[in-house]
Amino acid sequence: MQKPNDEQRAGPLSDLKVLDLAGPIGVYCAKLMADLGADVVRIEPPKGDSMREIGPFFDDDPNPEKSLYWWHFNTSKRGVTLDLEHPEGQEIFRRLVKWADIGVESFPPGYLHSLGLDFDSLHSINSEFILTSITPFGQTGPYSGFNGPDIVGQAMSGVMQTVGIPERPPYLIGSEIGYWTAATFAANASLLALAYRDLNGGGQHVDTSMQRAMSLGAGNSMSTYDTLGHVLNRGELFARGRGGVRTLFRCKDGYVFYIAAAPGTSMEAIKELLTEHDLGEEFDNIWLDPATLRQEGTEKARFETLMEGFFLRFTRLELLEMGFNREHQVFSVPVGTPKDIVESPQMAARGFIIDVEHPELGQTIRYPGAPYRMPESPWHLSRRAPLIGEHNDEVYKNILELTGDEISDLKGNGVI
């Protein structure tokens, strides 16, 4: 692993050693740890991880070393190959467990047991070892053996029920947010287990369920049923509006997200802004009470028509500037595309976008940066995702103290 240089303070988890076996449902978990300094060893089967087959690919070349998905989720990790289904591979894994603090895995429940690598077995080797499991439904229970891709987590958790418009089916949020959520809660749970170990000693098994994790994103759906016996559905939620008023409008170069009548906003502000653009006459003072806009009807329609015309005259950044560079602010922000985020002046000023070296390509690639700034013990993307088996020699020699001959034998047997 690239050692932090003198200027670079160590991340807060720089003393942690982590084994990462997780698939897409859990891969973000060890990225969170690796980017905060943990020494994460990503373990793949000898032929490479199946995540490497997920596109799109750099240069549109479907090469396992060029999967952008792999790149994004495996930063700052080292990578080794290891066949866990081979008895010698299992022995190597047990030796890695002696070295490690945390293991992260997302195999179907029971799979590790079939290899003799379940929590109890690993715990008997290293009583301080924390095993974090991330699965669609948890390690036990009637659905624990079920097949749970991201969409199943979004559906079964109650989140999808709340997303969309009445005329169309329920729909997914963004980019595999079910997987993301399961992995992020697992990362939180792992650090709780670590805090527990620091206080009491002893590792433990952390069992994270995507369904349970995502269910927190359904907000007050459960409590609304529990309290009022009412089932919330996408028709009455916020797909298009907030505080009863539409939030999404077309503008000159895309879409703008505008909150008219929610807490902290004022209708006076939008009246002022419209007046500055010679639309003051069109503004009806009865709208100063946003209650007039909260129900379907003429007033709501008149107001929205006026706003449609106004927003179409300007670009998203113009609307952001004119909305916020004033005493009474108008809450209008760009609906950002991936391109907008990369090119955002705010992101640029804060150095969110970082250059990462890809020595195998002889170039640097721009990556998204830190989810949080913590300069005392900073987030740091220390290296691009590992190539297949890139750190076999380094890990097996330096950590397990295998000899060159032993490593050659393992390679010969197809174990690594």
Partner: protein, 414 residues
């Protein structure tokens, strides 16, 4: 019995309002930290009146199940932070805490006299996190607002919805409930680990805009390396096909018919074969229109139509269980009632917790969405406004009864 909870001995000051910071502090409370919210009756957190409100308790500041669920395991102390003496009490309390969380707009907490530089003079190893909309620095730091605005800015909306239609916002404030508070809770847990090693605290600056943008997966790299702007794809996936939600038999609910849907995702050719068998259409398994992923992706609409014709009229639960029995990824689009009353997996996991609350009676809260084998985590009722004034003022801060009474009279304890 002597084992301690993970965060036992850690005290957290929750200066948050609404969702982001309070939800972050809830994670610490689940972990066993003592979390104290500063609130006031004169300027209370609007969350205390967010729906659902226990029937018959309209007007109470203690009967929002939204608030109580998101503030379980916490204490509440009522201090008027607009009053100089109130600020001083808050600073004294902060000096007894390990972690402070807040989510005012950038710079507000400094103007209130409760900023990091002020607090760390009294408690040098304090850990503090601010959750502002776009960060504490930069040309947009004055842009303030609600979590859903940050979600829109950060690409979540653009990548959600149908390709032939406008971007749509998540129905609930998803980023306030999930994304940002659990990025920041992770950062705090890491900072606590750092403090255990070094004795040093720190200030954490979380920009909701930046944090949410990290949920857009490889779309960022797709733009920086290929110059392509990813577009929303509805319910489809780039590596599973067909994938979508399919209409099932509607059911009566609240006096009207509720539409029901089952999600189905075909991850490989084997699963496609099993789906075809379950549909009684084994002939489609090797049909040249559908036999491989690549070709199914091309003919996805046609495959969706066939599946939809099969699911229509069936109960969503039947489709789900039948397909899962055959190893096919499937799941009912469940609602709050399903999760609470019907889902045997949620019941088995013990996720939902019953609590007894002084004003709402028996209520159900979320538990932490994970199980730690060595330390069951507790869930206790959300605090009444000012419920823990005696504990905080007398036991923690050591104020005399007279001093507390003076606070009430002068209006800084409210």
């Amino acid at each position: 019995m002597s084992a301690k909870l993970p965060l036992e001995g850690i005290r957290v000051l929750d200066l948050g309002w609404r969702a982001v910071a309070p939800v972050c502090a809830r994670m610490l409370g689940w972990g066993g930290a003592e979390v104290i919210r500063i609130e006031s009756a004169s300027r209370h957190d609007g969350a205390r009146q967010m729906p659902p409100i226990t029937p018959g308790k309209d007007g109470s500041l203690n009967a929002s199940e939204w608030f109580n669920n998101f503030n379980c395991n916490k204490m509440s102390v009522s201090i008027n932070l607009g009053h100089p003496e109130g600020k001083e009490l808050a600073r004294r309390l902060a000096a007894m805490c390990d972690v402070v969380v807040e989510n005012f707009s950038a710079g507000t907490i400094d103007r209130m006299g409760l900023g990091y530089e002020t607090l760390r003079k009294r408690k040098p190893d304090i850990i503090m996190v601010s959750h502002s909309l776009t960060g504490l620095t930069g040309p947009w730091k004055h842009v303030k607002g609600h979590g859903p605005m940050a979600a829109a800015m950060a690409g979540m909306n653009y990548l959600s919805g149908y390709p032939d239609s406008e971007p749509i916002s998540p129905g609930q404030a998803f980023t306030d409930y999930v994304v940002n508070p659990h990025h920041s809770a992770f950062a705090i847990l890491a900072a606590l680990h750092h403090r255990r090693k070094t004795g040093r605290g720190q200030y954490i600056d979380l920009s909701q805009y930046e944090s949410i943008s990290l949920t857009t997966g490889s779309s960022f790299l797709e733009y920086t390396t290929l110059g392509r702007v990813r577009e929303r794809t509805g319910n489809r996936s780039s590596y599973a096909a067909p994938q979508g939600v399919f209409p099932c038999q509607s059911i009566p609910l609240d006096g009207k018919m509720e539409d029901r849907w089952c999600a189905i995702s075909i991850g490989n050719d084997e699963e496609w074969k099993h789906l075809c068998q379950e549909m009684g259409r084994a002939d489609l398994a090797d049909d040249p229109r559908f036999s491989t992923f690549k070709i199914r992706k091309k003919n996805e609409a046609e495959a969706e139509e066939i599946i939809g014709a099969w699911t229509a009229g069936q109960m969503a639960e039947d489709v789900f269980l039948r397909l899962q029995g055959a190893g096919v990824g499937a799941g009912v689009v469940q609602n709050g009632k399903d999760l609470l009353t019907a889902d045997p997996q949620m019941a088995f996991s013990g996720h939902y917790r019953k609590v007894q609350h002084a004003e709402t009676g028996e209520s159900t809260y979320d538990g932490p969405p994970f199980t730690l084998s060595e330390c069951p985590l507790e869930v206790r009722p959300g605090p009444l406004l000012g419920e823990h004034n005696d504990y905080v003022f007398q036991q923690l801060l050591g104020l005399t009864e007279d001093a507390v009474n003076l606070g009430y009279v002068d209006g800084y304890i409210v």
